[in-house]
């Protein structure tokens, strides 16, 4: 087989795995509810509960109207949906291994990187679709009194850019999920990592509250790669130009860090799957 046909079989393999991911997702209704329902409930409840005690960050002073908490939280919820979807689709690697599906792929004449490619592709499509639905439907909740009116630009160009940027975040988080799930033997282990690592990563990304206050906290937020994802999405969603501050990096920094981190994560995943491991076979 020559290089180009190997290349094409790799892509067709990756698509096959991604397609399988989509079918599996839509056959499990509870997953749809889990990935999109919980963030929406968070958004409405936290928005209503924390709204009054919210201090808008310094960069918000340039906005035409004062920033409400729900508006502040809005991009963070979209990123949370992406994170949940990424977690749910990568956790299935552990099931695939246990159920035996994975060994069938490992015995196929395709490079093992198709496993990474298929998972990331499938997870990303699911995450972007769900987060986009939230971004479109979220502002409508203001009509039923569940959220305040949002200062959000609903023009085609920012919407396309926001969807593209969401895709980057989805690749980053699905890759990260893959990296965590691949060496694991049990889904319980993954849940533990989710509580002590992934959720704090999201909490400390400026998604839930702005930085400031303690110095160490600002540093964690600044070093957290997801901060750049949330900030980038924030910049694309809000109408008007926002200043660059410590807690709100510039758009180029957001794109740079998110792309860089995604590439590094995916490369590590590819290296990881290429190593033969005994626990892959059941």
């Amino acid at each position: 087989m020559n290089a180009s046909s190997q290349h094409s079989s790799m892509w067709s393999g990756a698509w096959a795995l991604a397609w399988r991911e989509l079918i599996r997702f839509f056959r499990q209704r509870t997953r749809v509810i889990g990935a999109i329902g919980q963030p929406v409930i968070f958004w409405v409840l936290f928005g209503a509960g924390l709204g009054r005690s919210f201090q808008p960050p310094e960069w918000a002073s340039g906005l035409s109207q004062p920033l409400t908490y729900q508006e502040y939280f809005f991009p963070g919820v979209a990123v949370l949906i992406v994170m949940f979807t990424a977690i749910f689709s990568t956790i299935s690697i552990i099931e695939d291994r246990r159920e035996g599906f994975l060994q069938g792929v490992l015995a196929a004449p395709v490079p093992r990187s198709v496993i990474v490619l298929g998972k990331v592709l499938g997870g990303t499509v699911l995450a972007v679709v769900q987060a986009s639905i939230f971004l479109l439907v979220g502002p409508l909740l203001s009509y039923v009194g569940l959220s305040p009116g949002l200062q959000i630009a609903l023009n085609p160009l920012p919407a396309i850019l926001a969807a593209l940027f969401l895709t980057l975040i989805a690749v980053e988080l699905t890759g990260l999920g893959f990296l965590i799930a691949w060496p694991m033997n049990s889904t319980q282990g993954f849940h533990a990592i989710m509580s002590v690592f992934l959720m704090p990563m999201w909490l400390l990304s400026g998604a839930f509250f702005p930085g400031g206050g303690e110095d160490w906290l600002s540093w964690i937020i600044r070093l957290n790669p997801l901060t750049y994802g949330v900030a980038g999405l924030r910049r694309l969603l809000y109408s008007g130009t926002l200043p660059v501050t410590d807690s709100l990096p510039s758009m180029s920094a957001c794109v740079g860090v998110t792309v860089g981190f995604s590439v590094v994560i995916c490369l590590i995943c590819v290296r990881l799957v290429s190593r033969p491991m005994t626990h892959n076979v059941t």
Binding site: S12, Q103, G104, T282
Partner: protein, 321 residues
């Protein structure tokens, strides 16, 4: 084209400290139905995984259809159809979706794939199940989907790991008929691992494995003919008490097989007569048969087929599921 499909020379493998295979040499003739028979922990599944390119080759060399496993595993994977002990089908997908997914991973062009799926569904009597979710199928049907999946890309070699695990006798018979048909019609070389004697008897060529080594090989008939005498199995009212008596009567050690006592005797009919005339009233049933593969195993290894498991000699991941 050579008549040897798979050849292994001095293959050894170990998991951490446990040795799974020691110096295994074998040749699988093209188009044959080849069985690796051994108890759990005998190394047959390790050998299967090496053939399936799922484990790195640590020592020795393996050639499959002329390609070296170390140098060109990708070429080998294209020629292999693999059916695992734990099914590698997705239980949430339908029969057709499973086959489509597998075909795309193997890079089959769309037209070929559609045609091939129809052919295989027909061949395995699954046509009316094409839209069924695999998780809702019976174990026998699921195995057939698995087999169809393994044959989708027309492999030259079909590797099966414990193919009858979890199948009822009727499903097992059907499954075997399908394997035979595939082997005879398409000339596919079939290599399977098994710990079931009835399954091993269906193979044209057998390798008996124990503790990571090949202890004997040949056709089931040759293997059975290689040991003399008969096997006398006796069911008694009280096997504990009668065991010693029968042993001294027949001058051979008894072997407990389930609720029966088995004896290897030079002349079965004479031994049976002798036993019946001495203590016939305590015997529920008695049977004389020519030696089974189990007897062959006992003869060459000095221990019974199930003994290994009791000693805990099971390698990681190789326990029967």
């Amino acid at each position: 084209m050579s008549d040897i499909c798979i050849s292994a020379a001095s293959v050894s493998h170990s998991y951490d400290a446990a040795t799974a295979l020691t110096d295994v040499d074998l040749e699988v003739p093209r188009g044959s139905l080849f069985g690796l028979l051994g108890p759990n922990g005998s190394g047959k599944t390790t050998l299967f995984r090496l053939f399936a390119t799922l484990l790195p080759l640590q020592a020795g060399s393996i050639k499959i259809c002329g390609s070296d496993l170390q140098e060109d595993p990708a070429a080998i994977r294209r020629m292999l159809g693999v059916t695992f002990q734990s099914p590698a089908v997705d239980v949430r997908l339908t029969v057709v979706e499973n086959l489509q997914c597998h075909g795309r991973i193997y890079g089959l062009p769309r037209g070929t794939l559609v045609k091939r799926i129809d052919e295989l569904l027909e061949q395995f009597s699954l046509s009316d199940r094409r839209k069924s979710i695999v998780g809702e199928l019976s174990g026998g049907l699921r195995r057939r989907v698995e087999l169809a999946k393994g044959l989708l890309h027309r492999p030259e070699v079909l590797l099966l790991d414990e193919p009858s695990t979890g199948l009822d006798p009727a499903a097992r018979r059907q499954f075997w008929d399908m394997i035979h048909e595939q082997q005879q019609k398409e000339g596919t070389t079939v290599v399977l691992t098994t710990h079931l004697m009835q399954e091993a008897e269906c193979c044209a060529h057998l390798i008996l494995m124990d503790k990571g080594q090949i202890v004997s090989q040949g056709s089931p008939q040759t293997l059975q003919a290689s040991i003399d005498g008969d096997r006398l199995s006796i069911r008694t009212r009280d096997s504990v008490e009668l065991k010693a008596e029968l042993e001294s009567l027949l001058r051979v050690k008894a072997r407990d097989v389930g609720s029966r006592l088995c004896f290897r005797v030079p002349d079965g009919a004479a031994a049976l007569q002798h036993v019946m005339s001495t203590c016939g009233d305590q015997i529920l049933s008695a049977e004389v048969a020519s030696p089974s593969l189990e007897d062959v195993f006992l003869e060459v290894t000095g221990h019974g087929f199930e003994d290994n498991v009791a000693h805990g000699a099971v390698f990681p991941g190789e326990a029967a599921s």
